[in-house]
C-alpha cells in the first residue's frame, strides 16, 4: 500500500516536472517522502538533461509544411462532391432506388405494362372479328369505328399481347346481326386468355334521317370484354367482338358499348 502511494506521488511529481515545475517545489509538497523522492527525481532530471535534444527549427518547419500539404490533399479527397454536398444521402439512395425500379420496369415489368406485339399472318391461329348487335344502329347511315389496337390478356397473368388491326376502320352498319368482319389474323401464343381490350381512336356516325354527323361517345377510349377463351396451335380460334351503339336518350347522343352476349370465340 505504501509502495503504491509512493508510486503515485512519484508519478505526480514526474508529471509536474514535465510541465515545468521545479524539483524543489515537488519535494516541498511531499516532505514525508522527500528523502525517498529526491534521488529518484534527481536521476530523472539528470537523464533528461543528459539526453536533452532539440530538433532544428528548419527540420520542424519543413516537416510542418509536408504535414499541412498532406492534410490539405486529404481534406480535398475526403470532401464529398458538390453534388453530394447539396443532395442528402437519403435522396441519393432514393434516386438509386428509382433507377433500380426503372431498370426493373424495362427488364421485367415492361413486358407486362407494354404488351408483346404480334404481327399478322394469313396462316395464323387466331382471327379477330368485329360485329354489331343491332340496337340503334338503324339510326345511322354509316358508323365508322377506327380501332388503333387490340390487346389480349392472358388468364391468371398480367402478360398481354397486342396487335394492330390490318383493317383499322369498320362500318358497323355493315356488320349487323350475323355479319362480321375480320380485322386481323395472326399467330398468338397458345393458352387461355381472359380479357380483350379494343382501343378506339375515332368514331364517325352519320345519321340516316338527317345526314348529320353526330357525336358518338365511348365510356373510355377502349371497349373491354372479360371473357375466357382458349387459343391452341392446332386450330384457328376466331374471336368476334361485338360492338353496339345505343342512344343515351332523346338528346341525339349515342354511345358505343361492347356486347358481351354476342361476343365470343369459336374454333375451327
Amino acid at each position: 500500500m505504501m509502495t503504491d502511494d509512493f508510486d503515485r506521488i512519484l508519478d505526480e511529481c514526474i508529471d509536474r516536472i514535465n510541465r515545468g515545475a521545479s524539483l524543489a517545489d515537488c519535494l516541498s509538497d511531499y516532505p514525508k517522502y522527500s528523502e525517498k523522492l529526491r534521488p529518484l527525481l534527481q536521476s530523472m532530471h539528470d537523464v533528461q538533461k543528459a539526453c536533452a535534444f532539440m530538433p532544428s527549427a528548419d527540420s520542424k518547419r519543413a516537416a510542418r509544411q509536408r504535414f499541412h500539404a498532406a492534410l490539405d490533399r486529404q481534406r480535398q479527397v475526403s470532401a464529398p462532391s458538390s453534388f453530394l454536398r447539396v443532395i442528402p444521402r437519403s435522396a441519393v439512395w432514393a434516386i438509386i432506388a428509382v433507377l433500380v425500379v426503372a431498370v426493373m420496369a424495362v427488364l421485367v415489368i415492361q413486358p407486362v405494362l407494354n404488351p408483346l406485339t404480334v404481327v399478322p399472318s394469313p396462316e395464323g391461329n387466331f382471327a379477330f372479328l368485329i360485329s354489331d348487335e343491332p340496337n340503334d344502329i338503324g339510326d345511322f347511315e354509316s358508323l365508322n369505328v377506327t380501332i388503333s389496337r387490340v390487346v389480349l390478356q392472358r388468364a391468371g397473368s398480367l402478360k398481354r399481347l397486342e396487335f394492330t388491326p390490318e383493317t383499322e376502320t369498320v362500318d358497323l352498319t355493315q356488320l349487323q346481326g350475323e355479319q362480321s368482319q375480320e380485322i386481323w389474323r395472326g399467330n398468338v401464343t397458345a393458352g387461355r386468355y381472359s380479357h380483350i381490350y379494343v382501343y378506339v381512336s375515332k368514331v364517325t356516325g352519320k345519321l340516316e334521317s338527317t345526314g348529320h354527323i353526330v357525336d358518338v361517345k365511348l365510356p373510355s377510349s377502349k371497349l373491354h370484354i372479360s371473357m375466357p377463351f382458349d387459343v391452341t396451335d392446332d386450330a384457328v380460334t376466331s374471336f368476334t367482338f361485338d360492338i353496339t351503339v345505343v342512344a343515351t336518350g332523346n338528346n341525339g347522343r349515342y354511345i358505343l358499348k361492347p356486347q358481351i352476349g354476342e361476343s365470343g370465340a369459336r374454333r375451327g
Binding site: T3, D4, F6, D7, R8, L10, D11, I14, D15, N18, P39, L40, S43, M44, D46, V47, Q48, K49, A50, C51, A52, F53, M54, P55, S56, S59, K60, A62, A63, R64, R66, F67, H68, A70, L71, Q74, R75, S78, A79, P80, L84, R85, I87, P88, R89, S90, V92
Partner: protein
C-alpha cells in the same frame, strides 16, 4: 448525405484538427523519443515528421483504438523506429557530435554532459524493454502514465510500478559508474 455521413466527415475533420494541434507540442517530443532509440539527429527528425504523415493517413483506424491521440502518435513512432532499426541493422550508438544540448554554453560543461549522455544510453540498455519504453515515453515523450499504459497495453498502476523500478535501477547503474 445523411446525418451519419455528415457526422463521419465532421468527426474526421475534428481528428485532423486535433492532430494538427498536437504537431507543435509533440513534434519535438517525438523527435526526442526517436533520437533516444536511434541516436541520430537527422533521422530522428525525419521519423518525427513521418509519424504525423502516417497518423494523418491512418486517422480512420485511430478512432477504433480508444487511445489518446498523443499516445497513438508514440505508438506509431515506436513502430517506425523499430522498422528503421530493423532495416538499417544499425548498432544503437549515439553520434555524440550531432547532439544539440539545451541551455549549456560552457564547452567544459558540454563535454561533461556528452559523457553523461553516453552513460545514460548505456544504462538504459540495461533496463527491460518495457522499463526502457516507460522511461522514454515519460521522460522524453512527456506522456502521462495512463497514456503510456495506452501505448503499451498496460494499466497505469503497472506503468507507475515499472517507472519507479526503472528509475531506481537507472540510479543504481549511474551512481555505481560515477
Amino acid at each position: 448525405m445523411n446525418a451519419g455521413g455528415r457526422r463521419e466527415i465532421s468527426g474526421m475533420h475534428e481528428y485532423e484538427t486535433q492532430l494538427a494541434g498536437l504537431y507543435e507540442e509533440y513534434y519535438d517530443k517525438i523527435a526526442r523519443y526517436v533520437f533516444i532509440h536511434i541516436g541520430n539527429r537527422e533521422e530522428a527528425e525525419d521519423i518525427a515528421g513521418e509519424v504525423f504523415l502516417k497518423a494523418l493517413k491512418s486517422l480512420k483506424s485511430y478512432r477504433e483504438q480508444g487511445v489518446p491521440m498523443q499516445g497513438w502518435l508514440f505508438r506509431i513512432a515506436h513502430n517506425l523506429t523499430v522498422d528503421y532499426l530493423r532495416k538499417a541493422d544499425r548498432r544503437r550508438t549515439v553520434p555524440i557530435d550531432s547532439v544539440v544540448l539545451v541551455g549549456n554554453d560552457n564547452p567544459i560543461g558540454t563535454a561533461e554532459i556528452h559523457i553523461d549522455l553516453e552513460r545514460v544510453t548505456e544504462a538504459m540498455k540495461r533496463l527491460t524493454t518495457e522499463q526502457r519504453e516507460v522511461i522514454n515515453l515519460r521522460f522524453f515523450g512527456g506522456l502521462t502514465s495512463r497514456e503510456v499504459g495506452g501505448v503499451l497495453g498496460k494499466g497505469d498502476g503497472a506503468v507507475r510500478e515499472m517507472q519507479r523500478a526503472a528509475i531506481e535501477k537507472l540510479r543504481g547503474i549511474l551512481r555505481i559508474e560515477t
